[in-house]
Symmetry: D3
Subunit: 245 residues, 6 copies
């Protein structure tokens, strides 16, 4: 089985963190293909960054589908950028890490808290919680105010994030923590040990959800037509390659 884990950020160092997290939980016979977004922002910290990360994400999926289709695609950014579009082009299930983490967290207690990077990204997380139906399960959204690319370099990341998680748990009266950035993937276990609560990293969770879906032979449904392949169409202005007519 091959699962393609896409880092929607163009910062390659983040891809290493993400790939390691995916590989650490995947089955022995599951190959993790980690791909860095070839075009767009270094890191995603605004609606603008997120929107502009989508073309690259779609290009990665289309390229794989054309050559060596994966058995599942994971969008490793907590805004789940391009999720619905990706479902149209992929021949296998596609999951976003916010989606993965929120669903898993809702199986582990009454409510969970999201702890993300910058507070300006909370709005997007709220929208996703609403669309996924899990807003009533999310007791609060919190930010540690560390930018995405500093997560790896800031020597205090683990401490700051641990404190934010502990405070979220207390102030929200929640039972679990959802980490709100793929760049935190390597910290979930350590934070969990410190705070004694389940801490969910969407990269690892999403990898296993995809592996499960492939095992179950499940796929994105197209009965309503919404997720059928996009209609052939002329694209212009530098995006010609995205068109198919």
């Amino acid at each position: 089985m091959r699962i393609c884990v896409i880092n929607p950020n163009t910062a390659a160092a983040m891809t290493d963190v993400i790939a390691a997290a995916a590989r650490s939980v995947a089955a022995a016979d599951t190959e993790i293909v980690a791909v860095t977004n070839p075009m767009g922002p270094e890191s995603i910290e605004s609606h603008y960054d997120e929107a502009l990360a989508v073309p690259g994400v779609l290009q990665v999926i289309s390229a794989m589908e054309a050559t060596a289709p994966a058995d599942g695609y994971l969008l490793a950014c907590f805004g789940d950028p391009g999720l619905d579009a990706a479902r149209e082009v992929a021949g296998a299930p596609v999951i976003g890490i916010a989606e993965a983490a929120m669903h898993v967290a809702s199986l582990l207690g009454r409510s969970f808290s999201v702890v993300t990077t910058l507070s300006r990204t909370i709005g997007r997380a709220r929208d996703l919680g609403t669309l996924y139906g899990l807003d009533a399960r999310c007791a609060g959204y919190h930010a540690c105010e560390i930018p995405v690319l500093e997560l790896e370099t800031n020597p205090d990341t683990l401490d700051i994030l641990t404190d934010a998680c502990r405070e979220a748990l207390e102030s929200d009266g929640s039972d679990a923590i959802v980490l709100g950035c793929a760049g935190m993937a390597d910290l979930a276990a350590r934070i969990g040990d410190k705070i004694g609560a389940p801490v969910i990293d969407g990269v690892a969770a999403g990898t296993l959800l995809l592996q499960s879906m492939a095992t179950l032979n499940l796929f994105t449904g197209t009965a309503s037509g919404e997720f059928a392949k996009p209609l052939p169409k002329r694209y212009t202005g530098g995006l010609e390659a995205f068109g198919s007519a």
Copy 2:
């Protein structure tokens, strides 16, 4: 890894179907321990049956916890009987098959339809959809009107159920089907082939969710106190063994 799959019905033949479904998807090194509820109704087709299936479910979990704790417990009845109580007594994650199937289905399209046995069980499914936050994702609840224990013996089960699934998909405009009974576990793949849509059996889905959680070292959170171990207490009237004081 050991996952305990509990059949809340006392009909042992159903346990075989359930165990086979779980084993067919579990990893090679995952042991499936399938247990038939030792006390209660043969089959669960009412709120009454479901309520009376719970003591046995809890007894099974307590017994395993006391002897050979599993790495996850699956409640293989679509009413998810005793789920919250089970979470209090188990030292590992507990998932119900309705919960498992609904969450997975919501990752496979805009909406899903539930197809269950008798229409009188739809009310419970609705309540679960509401509590899990997935009611907006469920486009409709349908019944094939085959009693639980006839699923195996009725020669037309596959045809009747397939028709019901196809009609649900069309009338609801949905993208996926959730099968509403553990006794349908062996039919998911065949129905899916016939209707060309993803058909989710909660037994297989739940087994893989539990396997994933164990791999992720996740557990039911107890920070809010709700899912902490029950307080020691005197039980009487024939249920003394359930007490701990």
Copy 3:
């Protein structure tokens, strides 16, 4: 008219408090039959306790139905244990005290606050509020942290509970208080006098709702089939008496 008030806890002393609360408001020609749960936990303070209180509750109702059917059944525990199952077996309306208190409270102002015993029971109250549709009317859930069986013996119960109610009213900006345990039934009037706000005890409220329903000749509807009598079925493992085939 005969109304059966069931104490789902097996602690008989609580039954006296509950019976007195019911009798203090019932009409002169309404007979209150107070029954202590013959099997299960002394007191209900967890999902586990609540689930295991249900068989006894159903046994009480079935026994009465077989001998001297009541005109209404009240489940005097704030988790409303076994409510849907009870509706299937009873030939008269069944109400839970959480249900009764929340509905009445919503007629007395914009919002109400729930004040219960241990905080770990709040989750169940939330679920009930959601299922009854009254969560938007409930401004907050609070705990006084007095265990159920200490309500009667702790000399400071009235003071502690009164303080908790007053604080709930202020912090929530609500208009009414719902007491979250049948064991508080004797305190509603006194707390109400002290805080100058309506304080609803579900035992008294539920008794009068049932008396009203009997006067109105209303009964649980069975048109959808959900609340029809459970199908005859074989029960095993010590629960044979619950089966009917």
Copy 4:
């Protein structure tokens, strides 16, 4: 105990129907004071009619409060006209019949259907269902298209209404019927007998809810200030008598 049942319509014949319905269920020592709205529309069949029925309703309550305060006030029109305002001026609980019927109906099954007079009044009923939190419990709103004042004179009212109720039950898959007009109060029992389902008339239900609240010594809460007495104020233009400064 004295309960004031107000007919917001100015058609006195309706008041007789309403008063009879209230008296038929009230306790022997409960006096029903039935009052016809002294000003406004003969019958209420639009938002306009309803808005203009409110001054008279408030005048009736203020007058009673000034002379012989009742122990409860029932607004016998399914739009619950002036309910919040009435709560500010009354020293005892106030209930609307839509509110009463919807709450009681939600205790009798999974869902209920509303059957009202003209379809143009359904919008208001929907709004009330939303505000009371019971919209998820209401499976459908239906109209029999008989104008309010024809309910008494049309010889086919019982048949037409019975058919509408039966069809509502079937098409909605609901368990109970709520009659959507005070002018139908005398028909509830007969329709219930014919369709074999609980049929709730808000006049009778509301009378018993108010009687219950008075017995419980409950009152509209004023802690949040919203339902405190209106501030003294100058009124002009013919409405001087409504002012208090």
Copy 5:
């Protein structure tokens, strides 16, 4: 184009503030006809006041419709008194200022905060937010505790209100402010300058919404029948003039 701006309060001084706010934004060829409610309370600060302001509001609209129909009607009180009834009698669109302000505010950021006069009016604003579907967009309701008629005379109104808006923005984490009283119409711009956030006055916003609707040739739809003209009917008790039969 002529837009009729109705002050539901009978205090004429408020009408001047309201008219000025409307005229300051209306197009050069839009005539603003400002009308003071001819009957009812000086100011609206309770459900009671609001209900009794409605007859005058409807009388104003009916009178204009009979003589010189406007191209739009604005109800300049934050309770949107009589909105649905007004839609039935007016031949042109009718908007309330709460409705106008909340809709516009939801276009200017993730969430908005409402800052109103007395806290007792918050309940009504909540109900409107719920009915308009914008409660999830409203991050909080706040009161400055200045009575309506003191807004103009209190020398500290601007400072107090500005502080309340600033605090609301901070405590709610919202992006915009909705002023909760027509009497604040002249302060929106100045408060906006001080706090650096969009501050929406419903009078100005509603005027432009009505002007837009007239330009678009839009009107209240009557296809469902709910907003058709009220049926002809006899009115009595001093309200004869409101009847049409």
Copy 6:
């Protein structure tokens, strides 16, 4: 005042339709600058098309902001592509036509129906309805099954669309129609005349909403930080020009 109307499709003919619709309602002194998306799909009929239309939309806004900032930006595609991102980069309000049309429609009756092009686009419209809080106001989503680019060339477009609107109104029991594609902008008035109900085109509605906001000096709020300018960041892979560092 200058309002920039952006056609997210790259088909220039559609831009003419859109520009004409905007100009037909704008004030005499409002300049409409209509811009065709310079990059991306000819027409938007899938999540994929929509995602890939966003970079061009953002490029248009950034270019205008850098040279001649507009007083408002309208996204003339019913998926409101890139709305949140556009709000971050624009110094003036940004509105999508779905947002504009749904808000205006909710002021014109109890509920509205959406009639769009292909049924596969309904999912996106539902998501927007949910996020804007107006899903309860939307009584139904319908498709006329005419592709976007055929709207202009199909000689039966007006008839087919009119029939679809009429049927939507009847089957949904709604009061107004929202047209679900910018390419239908020129048909709103004609359809409205034929069906006798308000028909809302989001291009015209959105133009007037933006004109109103500019007149009111309102702007996107940045207090919560979510809609502040995107952080400076390095972009790569052909999207360098979108970066700012």
